[in-house]
Symmetry: C2
Subunit: 365 residues, 2 copies
Amino acid sequence: MNFDHFTSPTLILDTKKCLNNIKTMAYKAKRHGLIFRPHFKTHQSRLIGNWFKQLGVNKITVSSVRMAEYFADDDWNDITIAFPVNIREIEAINSLAEKIQLNLCIENVESIDFLIKELKFKVGFFIKIDTGYNRTGIANDRYEAMDKILAKEKSSEKVKFKGFLSHTGHTYQAKSRGEILDIHEDALGKLSVLKNHYHKKYPDLIVSVGDTPSCSISEEFGNINEIRPGNFVFYDMMQFNLESCRFDQIAIAVACPVVAKHNKRNEIIIHGGAVHFSKESININNKAVYGMLVKLNKDGWKNYPEAFYLTKLSQEHGTLEVNYELLQELKIGDLVGIIPIHSCLTANLMKGYFSTENEVIGNLL
Amino acid sequence: MNFDHFTSPTLILDTKKCLNNIKTMAYKAKRHGLIFRPHFKTHQSRLIGNWFKQLGVNKITVSSVRMAEYFADDDWNDITIAFPVNIREIEAINSLAEKIQLNLCIENVESIDFLIKELKFKVGFFIKIDTGYNRTGIANDRYEAMDKILAKEKSSEKVKFKGFLSHTGHTYQAKSRGEILDIHEDALGKLSVLKNHYHKKYPDLIVSVGDTPSCSISEEFGNINEIRPGNFVFYDMMQFNLESCRFDQIAIAVACPVVAKHNKRNEIIIHGGAVHFSKESININNKAVYGMLVKLNKDGWKNYPEAFYLTKLSQEHGTLEVNYELLQELKIGDLVGIIPIHSCLTANLMKGYFSTENEVIGNLL
C-alpha cells in the first residue's frame, strides 16, 4: 500500500483481514447450520457487500429503512431491518416491500395494527425479543404480549410471522471472555424455551441472534437458526478489548497527519478528531481512550511494542499520549495510524475507504 | 413549522433564534471594537454563512483545509484555518492562497520552514498560543520559541505574521459562570503581557481568541483584537449547562420518531442514535446524558415542565428516560424533539437542516 499521497485523515481498509473475517464468520455459520444474515450497518458499502455475495450470502440485515433502500438498489432482495419498525416511514416500506423480501421488527400492537392497515405489499416480521439487554423488545417470557401481536397476524395477508429476533447487546458490557459466553448461554437458554413454546404452532419459525462478541467466540448456538453479526467485518478496539477478536483481525485504521508535538507533555496532536472517530471511548487503566496508535507500513500497519492511546478528541484534533522516544521519532507531517474504538461509527463518519490493495472504496450510504 | 412529513430523524433549525444569536454576537464584537471572525465549523452551511455576510461579516474561521475550500468556493475571501497547519495539504493550501487571503496557524519551526520552501503564494500566519488549555500552541510566555518562528518570517515574502491566536477551551470544563470568567480573565492577562512584549516590533499584530463560553458571557476583552466563536450560532445542551446561553437561545433540535415504549422501565425508544448525535455526553446528576427532550410545536419546540434525558445511545437507537404520565402521552409514531449535547457534531452528522420557516438547508460540507 502506498499512502504517500494521503493528505488528510483517511480510512484504510486491510482487504485481506476483512475478507478473512467475512470467510471465518460465513464458515462458522455453515458449520453450525445457521442462516448467515450479516448486518451491513458497519461497512455501509456496496463493494464490501459484494464480497459477501461472492461467498454465497444472499440475506442481509440493516438498521434503517434508508440503508435497506441503499442495498435494495444494489440487488439485495432479502433484507431484515433490525430496528423497531418506524411507522412514519410507511411509504418507503411499501416501496421496498413491493420489490424485495422485506422483514421488519415488531414489538408492540400499535405497529402491527398500523402496518396491517397501511401496507400495500406483503412483509415478513420478527417479534423483537429482549433477553436481558433491556434496550428494545418484549421480555423473552412475556408470551401474552407476543400472543397479542401474533393474533393480529391472522387477520391479514400482508404480514407474515417469521420468528423471534434478539440482540444480546449486554455482551458489550462483559468484563471477560467467560462473561460473554455466560451471557450468550443465558440468552440461548431463554430463546430455546421461547422456541419450544411456539414451535408446534409455527414449525418454521426462525430464531435470530446478532451480537459480534457471542458470534465471534462461541461455538454453541443451541436452538438458534440465524446469526446477524455486523461489526466482525472490521472489528475494532472495543472488540479487541472484549477479547472478541485478535488484534491482527482488526481490518481498519485511520491514517492521520501529525500536526504538532508538545515535548513537555509527551503529546502529539494529529488531524483526527470527533468528526472522524465519533466520541466513542473505552476505559483502559481507568482512563477513557478514543483510539490506539499503530505504525503504518507498506502492508498496512503494525503494533508499537508499547501501547499508546488517543486520550483527547476535539472536533478535528486528536491528542496522542506517547513517550520521549516516540516523540523524537515522529516528525511534523508524518502519518500515523489509529485503530478506532468503534469501527461502525468511524466508517459512518469517514464515508469511504482506501484499501491495502490501493483501491478507493467510496459511495457509502 | 409543519413537521407532519418528517419520517426519520430531522435536524430542525429555529431561524429566528439563530439570527438573533448571530446578531447578538456581531453587535457585541462591534460594541467592543473587535474584529468578528466567526468559526463556521458549527453550521458548515453556505446559506447560514450568508446570514453572517448580510450583517457585514467578511472574515471567517474554519477548522480544516477542506472547509476553507468549501467556503472559498462560496466567495469568502478572508479565511483563517484555526488548526495547526497540516503540511501534507500544501497543494490545497497553495490553491487557496492563490485566490484568497488565507491565514494559517503555526506553532513550530518545522511547519514554517516547510511553508517557506513550498508556498507559491503569500499567506498570513498566526502563532498559536496556549493560555492553559494544553491542547495546542506555544505556552504564552515561551518567547524564545515564538522568536524562532518569527526569525524565519524575515527570510521570506511568502509568510506574513498576523498575530497570536488562542483558544481558551478550558472554559468548557468550568463548573460555573464565575469560573468561565476567571479562566477568560486569566487568558486576557496572559495575552496582554504577550501583546505588550511584541507590540513595538509588530504594531499591527492581532490577538485573536475564540471560545463560545467566554465570548458569550464576558463583557471584558482587554487587549484582544479579534473573536472567533462558532458554537454560539446554535448553542446546545453543553453551553446551556455551562450557563453560556439561555435555553431559549438554543437554535437546533432533532425531531425523532418514537418507535417503542417500555412501561416497566419508563423508557421510550426513538430513532435517533450515535449516527445522528455523535456520542458526546455531559454529566447531569452524575449521569451521562446524550440529549434533552423537548415538545415539538408549530413554532419549533418548548420545554417539558420536567427535564427528561436521552440516557443511552446505540448506532440508531436512543433511549429516553421518562415518567409514567409521559409514557402514556407519547404514542408509537409520534415525533419528539431532542436538544443535542454538542451542536457542532450533530450538524456535522446530519448534513442538513429543516428550518422553522419550512426551508430545507442542505448542501453541508
